[in-house]
């Protein structure tokens, strides 16, 4: 049983961090489809950073700086160049996936994967069977709670939500919706760096090309499934991870009877199901935020 929980937490933690990044952007009125790109930048920067500097702290700093810069770029393209946020987000995903491959090639020569000598610090033997997990796993519930407080129980959160839902209302009380979105994307950049680092360096200590394998989009689906509520979306992400872990388990048990590819596809099938279900449950009412710009008269 413990090993299933460990597997779920291992795959769920990166997803939840990135989901939180999506939640904060969604609340501010940006459908962030660049999560996939930000996540791979975080993953790549963490491993490459460890290899080059030999320090986990420095590697995390590099990952955070790069993810925040990429997020600021996204903000600039959306807010200043007035690009369509969906297209800009997809562009960022392309930039992340291509840019990381290019960077690894430039630094290490033609090499699809980079291995680091160590990864994110572990919890240690004090945590018994969970000692193999990284400190980011322990921090994850606190991060989710902190996001909930920030978004739902502070004036900053209210103004952020107003910027997404009704920018004119935000402007009327003296807030600057564009700047609120910048803040949201910067917070998201930090979270994506942590999520990406956890994916690559939490247990594996390896970066491989395209290793996010659609997890950024799955995180985005969790945002929609959870109606952009921090806790709801975190549970949605956890649900996808549970399905994934059970899929791997089922593969071990019934690998002969059921096609292996089908089991690997389970989390993605669960994602599609989850998004459909969330639409059903909300009775066709629009998600927490729509295309905000339309309301800024």
């Amino acid at each position: 049983m413990n090993d299933i929980i460990v597997a779920i937490l291992r795959s769920g933690t990166p997803l939840i961090y990135v989901t939180m990044a999506g939640v904060v952007a969604q609340r501010a009125g940006i459908w962030n489809l660049g999560l996939e790109g930000l996540m791979i930048i975080g993953a790549c920067a963490a491993i490459v950073g460890i290899v080059l500097t030999g320090s986990f702290a420095l590697a995390m700093l590099i990952a955070i700086i790069l993810c925040v810069l990429a997020s600021v770029l996204l903000w600039f393209v959306i807010e200043k160049l007035k690009a369509n946020p969906i297209i800009a987000g997809l562009g960022l995903t392309g930039l992340g996936l291509g840019g990381t491959s290019l960077a690894v090639q430039a630094i290490f020569g033609s090499q699809a994967a980079v291995t680091a000598p160590f990864g994110v610090p572990k919890l240690g033997p004090a945590f018994g069977p969970f000692g193999v997990l990284s400190i980011f796993v322990l921090a994850m519930p606190f991060a989710v709670f902190a996001m909930w407080v920030l978004l739902r129980r502070t004036r900053f959160g209210l103004r952020l939500a107003a910027s997404g839902e009704h920018p004119f209302a935000a402007r009327s009380v003296g807030a600057n919706p564009s700047r609120m979105r910048l803040a949201a994307l910067i917070i998201g950049g930090v979270l994506c760096a942590i999520g990406g680092a956890e994916l690559a360096a939490g247990s594996l200590q390896i970066y491989a090309q395209n290793m996010t394998a659609g997890r950024g989009f799955m995180a985005f689906a969790a945002v929609i499934f959870g109606a952009a509520h921090p806790i709801g979306s975190a549970f949605a992400a956890l649900f996808f991870s549970v399905v994934g872990a059970l899929g791997i388990r089922a593969q071990l048990l019934f690998g002969d009877a059921v096609p292996h590819d089908l089991l690997l596809a389970l989390p993605y099938i669960a994602t599609v199901f989850g998004v459909w279900l969330s639409g059903k449950l909300r009775g066709g009412r629009k998600a927490a935020t729509g295309f905000a710009e339309l309301r800024d008269y």
Binding site: R153, E165, A169, R171, S172
Partner: protein
């Protein structure tokens, strides 16, 4: 007057090539109720937004209590005590009342709990007579309450100048009374109130002074209301050139001068005229656009204008959608021009004589990025067969003739519809929807946002259509408009018919039906 509460000097605002305000200088005395009036497009809302820091003028100064304030900064204007309540309210619909109060506040703890928030704002709301549970969500509240909350939100800080942008436009007559009572109390507490209005009757009922804007310029003001008559004020609003061309009833209705009940029917529908609209017991499902229709029956005879009155959001949009096949009837029958169209698609309904001037001119009425001839031709292209060829040259020529007959100002039929002004755009829709084959014309807020000349033109066109034997269904939130041109007024409340009235109209009775109070 030393240290006026609010003063603008030489304020000029341009949107593209349109001058919204040019060189407006105006000062408001402290502790009074000031009205700013003008027709649509006169620059009233722009003026309010400049004063509140939402719009930065190209040139000009803003002084609050004698202190110069940076223009275009909401924060600075709010810090100096200026608050603005918007025409269509600026509260995020998903917020609870307490959250809506908090997000506009600048004081108190940055982190809160729900119950602390509710405790914090309940007394403030109560002190302003806004009786609402702070746990409720903004989107579930009636407009009067939303407006009360918005006023309460504007007063969370130490507001010294409160600007209300067309606060009466969304209210029922009794709601307007309540608002005026609230405004007088605020004045007695020392708040300077600036009301943006467009009805002379309301100005004279509430304001101490009045200022008139026309075409972005200050005509006069502030002048004491006691010193100016309704007639003179109407002339200032309309302008001497237009005043001469208007029928007197229309001028009064457009400026809200005098009591609307004064209008009497000047038209008699023949008793034996056939029904062009016959709705019997129609019910629909509710949707995001408004409440469901519940067992609604409505008939319109040929040669009759029936007005639909009601506070916005009481099913008027659903009614139009039900007639135009945008929402299905779950019960009941619907006939247009004597043909049963209960289950018929829009094309069949239009073939039976249905024409629609929709609520939203720029999104439902016209495709702004398409050319004029394409917009105009939509009527007959909808009726032609799917694979029939289009002859642009012929359509352009006929469009040219039609638009000229309707007096549209345009350069070529190939120009985009989005390049026309509001009044001209509405004329293009009229040219398309008011044709010889029309039997039932739905006119949904046909004059919203138009200046007085264009408004009078729309009214005249609808009257002419009626005199030719069309039935007209006019939906409006403006009782003056309804009373001026309707042969009969039907009041809608929560998707049902709450009363039917005929001229001479009594505003009290219609208003009571709008709010569901039995007299």
């Amino acid at each position: 007057m030393d240290n006026p509460a609010l003063e603008c000097r030489d304020v000029t605002v341009a949107y593209g090539s349109v001058m919204a305000l040019s060189g407006v200088g105006i000062a408001f005395e402290r502790g009074k109720i000031h009205a700013v009036v003008g027709q649509n497009g006169a620059g009233k809302t722009t003026f309010a937004r400049v004063a509140a820091g939402l719009v930065r003028p190209a040139v000009g100064e803003l002084r609050i209590n004698g202190q110069q304030v940076k223009t275009g900064k909401v924060k600075d204007a709010r810090a100096a005590g200026v608050e603005l309540v918007h025409q269509s309210f600026a509260l995020p619909p998903s917020f609870t009342v307490a959250e809506a109060m908090e997000f506009g506040s600048d004081r108190g703890a940055a982190i809160f709990t729900r119950s602390a928030l509710q405790k914090r704002w309940a007394p403030h709301l109560k002190s302003l007579d806004v009786n609402v549970d702070p746990k409720r969500r903004v989107r579930d509240l009636p407009v009067e309450t939303q407006q009360g909350i918005e006023i309460a939100r504007a007063l969370v800080a130490d507001a010294r100048v409160l600007i209300l942008d067309e606060p009466t436009a969304v209210l029922s007559p009794s709601g307007i009374e309540m608002l005026f009572e609230r405004v007088r109390k605020l004045r007695d507490r020392g708040v300077t109130v600036i009301l943006i209005l467009h009805k002379i009757r309301e100005v004279l009922a509430i304001a101490d002074t009045v200022s008139v804007l026309r075409g972005g310029r200050l005509v006069d003001g502030p002048v004491a209301c006691a010193e100016i008559g309704a007639k003179r004020l109407a002339e200032m609003i309309v302008g001497p050139a237009v005043a001469r061309t208007l029928a007197s009833g229309d001028a009064d209705a457009a400026t809200g001068r005098g009591a609307p009940a004064a209008h009497t029917a000047n038209h008699h529908t023949p008793a034996d005229a056939g029904l062009v609209l016959d709705m019997r017991g129609v019910s629909t499902l509710s949707d995001a656009e408004g409440p469901a229709l519940r067992d609604l029956s409505l008939t319109i005879k040929a040669g009759e204008i029936v007005g639909i009155a009601g506070v916005e959001g009481n099913g008027q949009r659903t009614l139009v959608r039900a007639i135009a096949d945008l929402v299905d009837a779950t019960h009941g029958t619907l006939a247009v021009g004597g043909v049963d169209v209960t289950a018929a698609p829009l094309a069949r309904r239009r073939a039976a004589g249905l024409r629609v001037i929709p609520f939203e001119r720029n999104t439902e009425g016209l495709s702004l990025s398409s050319s004029l001839w394409e917009n105009w031709s939509a009527r007959e292209l909808l009726q032609s067969r799917l694979l029939s060829a289009i002859n642009p040259a012929r359509l352009k020529k006929r469009c040219d003739e039609a638009l000229q007959a309707w007096g549209v100002h345009y350069a070529t039929t190939g120009q985009q519809a989005g390049s026309l002004s509001g009044g001209n755009a509405q004329k293009v829709i009229l040219a398309r929807e008011v044709d010889a084959d029309a039997k039932l014309i739905i006119a949904a807020q046909p004059t919203r946002g138009l200046d007085i000349g264009a408004t009078a033109f729309v009214w005249q066109s609808l009257r002419e259509a009626r005199d030719r034997g069309c039935g007209v269904l006019l939906i409006s939130s403006d009782l003056d408009e309804l009373f001026d041109i309707s042969d009969r007024v039907v009041v809608m409340l929560s998707g049902e018919v709450a009363g039917t009235f005929s001229a001479p109209y009594r505003i009290g009775a219609v208003g009571a039906a709008m709010t569901g109070v039995s007299q």
